[in-house]
Every structure is written in C-alpha cells, then in structure tokens.
Amino acid sequence: MEELIEKLKKEVIEQLNLEDIKPEDINPDSPLFGEGLGLDSIDALELIVLLEKNYGIKIEDPKDGKKIFFSIRSMAEYITANKK
C-alpha cells in the first residue's frame, strides 16, 4: 500500500501539473479538494482519466468520486480493491 501511495503522489503531481509540489509535500490522508492541494473540478476529471489510463479502472457511478478521491490513501485503497 505505501509503495502505491508514493507512486500515486508522483502520478497526481505529473497529471495535474502541480509544478511547485513535491511528493513529500502531500499528506496521503489530507483532503485533495477544497484545501491542501486546492484542486478544482477539471482536476477531478483528470483524476478519473488517471485511474482509467494507468490502472484500467473506470468509475461507473460519478457519486463514488467524492469517496474515492477524498485523499491519496483513499485512491490507493480503491485501486487495490478494483485493479484488473
């Protein structure tokens, strides 16, 4: 799990062009939206693309997004449970 969290941090930084942020700046348990990284709605769409492109996971119900993308850890847990 910790290995996946570190990988995800790098992927999120690259996918969302978070230039001034380093992996160690991201607390895996902090909320991704609203505070912390200050992500917006377009970033949310990019995270959906990231899951599909890098892990083959398609989010069928958009309502699940809030829970899945709450934090880096929640993303990692979802990937672990659903990776094909």
């Binding site: 062009n17 978070l18 230039e19 001034d20 200050g38 377009i42 990019e46 693309v49 599909e52 492109k53």
Partner: protein, 218 residues
C-alpha cells in the same frame, strides 16, 4: 475624446520588454516552456494556476501580469475594463496537444485539462479572472497583426463608452515560436501624469500600435 497607450509589454524571441525596458533575456533558453517558466520565476509571480494553463494562457497571463501590476487600472470599474486580443494560430498549439490524446483509438484518453484550452479566448478568461475584469472582450484571428482592426475595434468600444480602460494586442504561440504585444489604452482625460521612469504615453492608433509592436524589427 482621444485615447492613449499608457503602458505596453513586448515578448519576442524569448526576450521580454515592459514599457521599452528590457526585463528578461537569457541566451541559453531554447524552448518556450523553459522561457515562460524562467520569466514566471524571475518576476516572482505567485499564481499556482499558472502551471495548469496551456502555452497561450501562460503567455497572455504573464504579458498582462507584467503590464497591469504597474498600472492603477483598477480605478476603472471591472465592467468598464475590456480585453481585445488577436493572433494567427488561434488555439492550434493546444488543439494539436488535444489531438495527440485522441488520435489512437486503442489509447483514447482525452485530457480534460487540455481540452478546456482548445479555444483562443480562454486566455482572456485567465486574464479577467486574475484581475477581476468583467467588461467587453473579444479574440480576433488574422494572418498577421492587424493594427487597424485592433485600433478600430477598441476605439469603437471607447466611443460607445463601453470601456474606460482596455488591454489589447497580439498573443501568438505555436510550438517554440511565441510573440506577445499588449497595450493598455485609456482616455486622454484619465491619463495620469507620467511617473519618472515610466513609459511616455503615445496616441492610440494603428500606426503607434504597429510601431510599438515592431520596434525590435527596426
């Protein structure tokens, strides 16, 4: 009432000038990405959303930032502040990037953050959001810089009292080729006394727009 250009930015060949003074030039810079990032860092602009913009957005944002931070343009109500820009490649630079994400049907992953920039007037939105501008705006596409078109369009906005201040000019990016010219235009009656070291206002017309934009060619 006549209008005057009271400030301008010129970016060409990875060189940046504000009000006729050289602000940035590094010989060893070879790409647009390196140039715009180095300029952003040098000028200590703190706006994390900058990194998420496409190339046209970044160029327009920086060019406007360098210009407007020296001007008390907020004296004008946001609704009476306009932005009129132009270029020749429209959003082609980003259109190509978007195409790259969708051309392979086997790996079809269009990027939402790329797609949202596939219109040239998005750069106007970035400038307006940053500066709270809510007035008239337009993005015009022409083969080369058409100073008469810009002068005519902006003069019309002033004559109909739709604007009291207007940012206008040329923002062009395609690959590593970039060129920006932005002029800040105000009514003669509103032009404050020139501050020492600042640009001496010139009349706003097609001829002066062309002269200022092409000064590096002379």
């Amino acid at each position: 009432m006549r209008q005057f250009i009271t400030a301008y930015t010129l970016i060409d060949g990875f060189k940046c000038m504000v009000n006729g003074r050289l602000l940035f030039y590094q010989e060893n810079i070879l790409t647009f990405a390196d140039f715009i990032k180095a300029l952003y860092k040098q000028e200590q602009v703190n706006y994390p959303k900058f990194y998420k913009m496409d190339a046209l957005g970044k160029l327009g944002f920086i060019a406007s930032e360098l210009l407007l931070r020296n001007k008390d343009f907020k004296l004008y109500p946001p609704e009476l502040t306009g932005v009129v820009l132009s270029n020749s490649s429209s959003s082609l630079d980003t259109d190509i990037a978007h195409y790259e994400t969708i051309r392979d049907r086997e790996h079809y992953f269009p990027s939402p953050s790329v797609f949202v920039y596939t219109l040239p007037n998005i750069v106007i939105g970035e400038i307006c959001i940053r500066n709270g501008i809510k007035g008239e705006n337009a993005f015009l596409v022409s083969e080369s810089f058409n100073s008469e078109l810009i002068a005519g369009y902006v003069t019309d906005l002033f004559s109909r009292e739709l604007v009291k201040g207007c940012l206008c000019g040329w923002i062009e990016v395609l690959g590593n080729r970039c060129e920006a010219f932005l002029a800040w235009v105000e009514n003669q009656a509103d032009v404050a006394e020139t501050k020492p070291g600042m640009f001496n206002p010139v009349p706003f017309d097609a001829e002066h727009l062309k002269l200022l934009k092409n000064q590096n060619d002379r």
